[in-house]
Structures are given as C-alpha cells and as structure tokens.
Amino acid sequence: MGEIVFKNICKSFGDTKVIENLDLTIKDGEFTVLVGASGCGKTTLLRMIAGIGPATSGELYIDGEEVTDIPPGKRGIAMVFQNYAIYPTMTVRGNIEFGLKNKKIPKSERDRLIADAAEVVGLTPYLNRMPSQLSGGQRQRVALARAMVKTPSVFLLDEPLSNLDAKLRVAMRTELIELHHRLKTTFVYVTHDQTEAMSMADTIILMDGGKIQQMAAPEVIYNDPNNIFTAQFIGTPPMNVHKMRDDVNYIGYRPEKIQIFRDKPTDCTYVRKVKVITREMLGSETLYKLQILSDAENEKEPIMSKSLDMSFAVDEEVYIGVPKEDLYYFDANKMRIRETDMLERLYCTTEGDK
C-alpha cells in the first residue's frame, strides 16, 4: 500500500545541491528510519515525500503512482513535525478534526474517528483543552492522533521525540513501535540519534552529504558496516579507527569488543600495550580512554574501550586484545575491505612480536 520509490532525485536550494541523483526504495509496511547528522538531507527527503518541499528534478512514486504534481493533502500521507505544529488556536479536538473536516467527512464518522484515535494515544480526557494547557508529551500525542485519524498509507515523522525529556523519549519510543505494529503502515522516521534509529527501525537508511551511506537492518548496519562513516556513526562510543602501517588502509574495532588484560594475551590477533588515561563508570559497564604505548605516528590517537571489568585504574599499564573476527579493514577511500587475510598478516604479525 505504501511503497515509496525515489528515481534519480535531485534537490538544490539556490546554488547548493543538497541531493544528487538519488535512487531509493522504501518498503511498504516497514518502519524505516532515516538517520544522519544535521544537514545530511534526511529531512529534505521526508519533505519531498510529504510534498511540502518538492524535488528539483527526478520522479517520486508512492504506491506505484507518480506524485510529483499531487498536492500534499492528496497524497495519503500524514506527518508529525519536530515541534508538533499543533494549531494553537484550536482545541485538541479541533486539531484532530481539522484534516477530517477538510476531507468533508460527515460529523458522526468524524466523532468516531476522533474518539478512537484519542483512546489509542490516551488523550480522551483532554479533547476540549487548548494546546497551551498540555504538557510536551501530551502535545506529542495530539500530533500523533492528528496523523492517525487520517489513516494514511505513509506515516512521516520528523524527529518527533527530540523535544521531549530523556525519560519520556524512551517511553514514547516503545509506544511508537507498538503503534507501528498496530497500524501496519509504512513509517518513515527521521532522526539524528543513532540510538533511536537502532531501537526502532526495521530498516535504517544512513545518510551523509546527501548520499546514502548504507541501507540495511539495524543488526546488519552494526555488524557489517560498508564504510568508516557507518562504522563510526552507529554505536557509542564510535568505532576506533586508525591508519595501518602501510599508510593506505585503515583498521577499526568497536570499543565493546576490546578485551583488557593485565598479562599479554596470546589468543588475540590484535594486541597492544596501553596506559589507562581516564575511567568513566556507566553502571553496568565502564568506559576507558586508553593510550597505545607505541612510537608509531598512526597510533597516537587515544582509543575508547567499553568493558564489564571495572578493576583497572587510571595510569595503570595493561594489554588490550581484539579477536580476529572483530577487526574491520577499510581501503584508502574509507570503504570496507571484506577479504582480509593478506591485510591481517601485514598488520598484526609484525606488531605481535614487539
């Protein structure tokens, strides 16, 4: 019902090209998250789907139909804005009802739809309030209810949780996942927060500089990144990456895959002697900032490590090791190299003897 296809889409604001020759298919019924730093073009894509920021050139299909010339209201989509865009002069009911009225839906039908939507998001007692009398979370729900009643085939959400406090944000995350299960329509969700993306998405589309860096399920994007950008964007703290000895390629490993030892380990491929610089307790885990004790120019940058063992002290000198399967290699263009035998030998054996 709600498959979205971008074909050769370009978008420029004045002279600046934001998106160039983009092809993309967003699958029907999936929860797709567009994630990337601000200015990467993710909101631009969302606004194209909505029809409120049309593409400069290219074609856009929703549900197999070319929609370039169809006005926003007629595309069968609903959108939740970052600041909710709730009409401040209308009551909660008026806000939800506005779109239905414009669709000329009869009064009795309207009342039923509003009651249903209000029930789902828990707004029933607040229907006659003005938006100014609502809390941030309640306003968020108004925006959701307003989108829901239109029974859209595509549901667009533009950073809808960014204005909520941390606790509420986590709660709303779960609610949105449930809502998606209930409605079973296409959700396109824009965020800059990779945690949000990882926790909610069926498919993540990671964007940078107007280009898609990788599009895959969360576990794939985490375990099998296509390039350094993806590897470092997803996961906190980001993947440790430094240049290899050959000065052409890169090696990377995730902080949580680093094992720390007091004695030099024997079963790890990548082993370095390090000194603990700082130590942050996170509760279940501990975050260490480590300095590799080496003269090599390419290993001067401190690395981050996340460990369950909290016993290492600042200034202590220890060993770290990373197993072979947790090492990632990238070429000079920062793209992933998946055939790694030769590189491993090149890098690790010479090091291991030191």
Partner: protein, 286 residues
Amino acid sequence: MTQYKKPNVKVLKAKKMASSFISTILKLGVCIMFAFPFFWMISTSFKTYAESLQFPPTLWPEDFTLQAYITVFEKLELGSYLMNSIILVVANTALMVVIMVPAAYVFAKYEFKGKDFMFSILMVAFMVPTCLTFISIFRMFAHANMLNSLWPQILPCICNAYGIFLLRQNFMQIPEELIESARLDEANEWQIITKIMLPMAKSTMATIIFLSVTGTWNSYFWPLVMTISDEYRPLTIAIEKLKGLESGLVWPNVMAGNLVLLLPVIVVFLFASKKIIASMAYRGVK
C-alpha cells in the same frame, strides 16, 4: 576599608514622605489638566448661550438644557452626516481588511519574483502623506465625475501600507510547519488564512482595525478636500460647520456636536483602555 557616613534614617524618611506628597499633588494636577477640557466641553454643551458667556463662569450649568443638542440635530440634520461617517468607517475598514490580509500573507509566506521590490514600494508608500497626493487625486475623481459619491473618501484610503507591514511581521512569526501541516490536512489557501493565520494574529488585527476605525471616524483633512457637497460629508465636517450655524459663535452648539463626535471614542476607551494602551506601547517600541 572605606568609611561610610551613616545616613540619618529619620531625615531620609521625612524627605521621602514630603516628596511623595508633592508628587501626589502634582499628579492630581496633571489629571485635572488632561481631564478638564473634556469636562468643560460636556458642561458647556448643556448650558444656554447666555450662561456659557457668563462671568464668573459656572462649573456645571445652573440652567441645565438640552437646547444645544436639539439645535444641532434639527438645524444641521446631524443624522445624515452621522450616517456617512458610519458608512465610511464600515466600508473602509472592511475593504482594507480584504485587501490587506492576502497581501500580508504572501509577503510573509511566499517567495516570488519582484517580492522585495514590491515590498519596498509598499514601505515608500507608507511614508507618503496624503497632503501631497490630494491635489492629483481630487482632479482624478473630478475627471471621473465621481465627486458626487462617497468613493473619493473610500478608494484612496483602503490600501493600508502600515497595516500590511504590521500584519506581515506577525504572520512571519507563525512557524512554517503549521502551514505545511495544514496543507497536509488538505486545507486550501483560504482555510489556511482564515483558520490558521488570522486566529493567531488576533491582537495585531484588532490594533489595525482599531486604528482604521478611529482614523476614519476622526478624519478631517481628507473629507474636506474630497467633497463638494454636504450630502457626502461626514460628521467631522458637520461639527466644524456648527461654528457658523447661527449668527455669532454659539459654543454650546459646537460643544454638543463635539460630544456626539467624541462619544463613541470615549465609550470604547472606557472599556478597552488597557488593551489600547498596551498595543500602542508595543507598536511604538517596535
């Protein structure tokens, strides 16, 4: 450490009391200074001609009479002038709104070629006073044979450049998302203006309408130069005529007419002075 001379608290207190007493007296004087002329107008309007010139003057008419009011309404037929004034206020304000709102909306929320140029033209027009344009406009209406109608007092007055500017400023503060959201809700432009924009610009609209209504009601120069017969003249011109209604200047008559002219303004001000003052202060500081 610096040595502070300890002030004498008693002296300070006495000084403070004295100055606040003087200040209160002076304020009372100011109130009288600004209220008295209006009181004197009301008082005079109920006096007989003789009493109005009597020395020493009476503060409130001893010989209370409505004669002045009867004279003005009968001899001058104030009613028809009053009707003209009301028609002008309603027509000018309504037409002004109809022309202003769409313009303010697109100036605030649309991008189109020539927008900046048109907007600067608007700002220049806002600075052009009517005392420079009336000669040509009068000739235009004379050529068009329209001087025997109310049009010369309506058409040139309904494009409110300042109003468009104020409203545009207000519209610009309304977030873009609200309009986009309304578009997604299948609202057309008319609905966006009436259901979203205007409800959010209520106080600005009230200010502009208030200024337009009082401006039209109070206007003297424009009707003076744009009319050639009494049939189309508003109340202000009629009040001026009261000076020559009878032989010699009969001040009670003039003051009675004056009160008729001021009464609506007084009533509005009594009920909404707080809002009026707040909006004027805001407007001035901006």
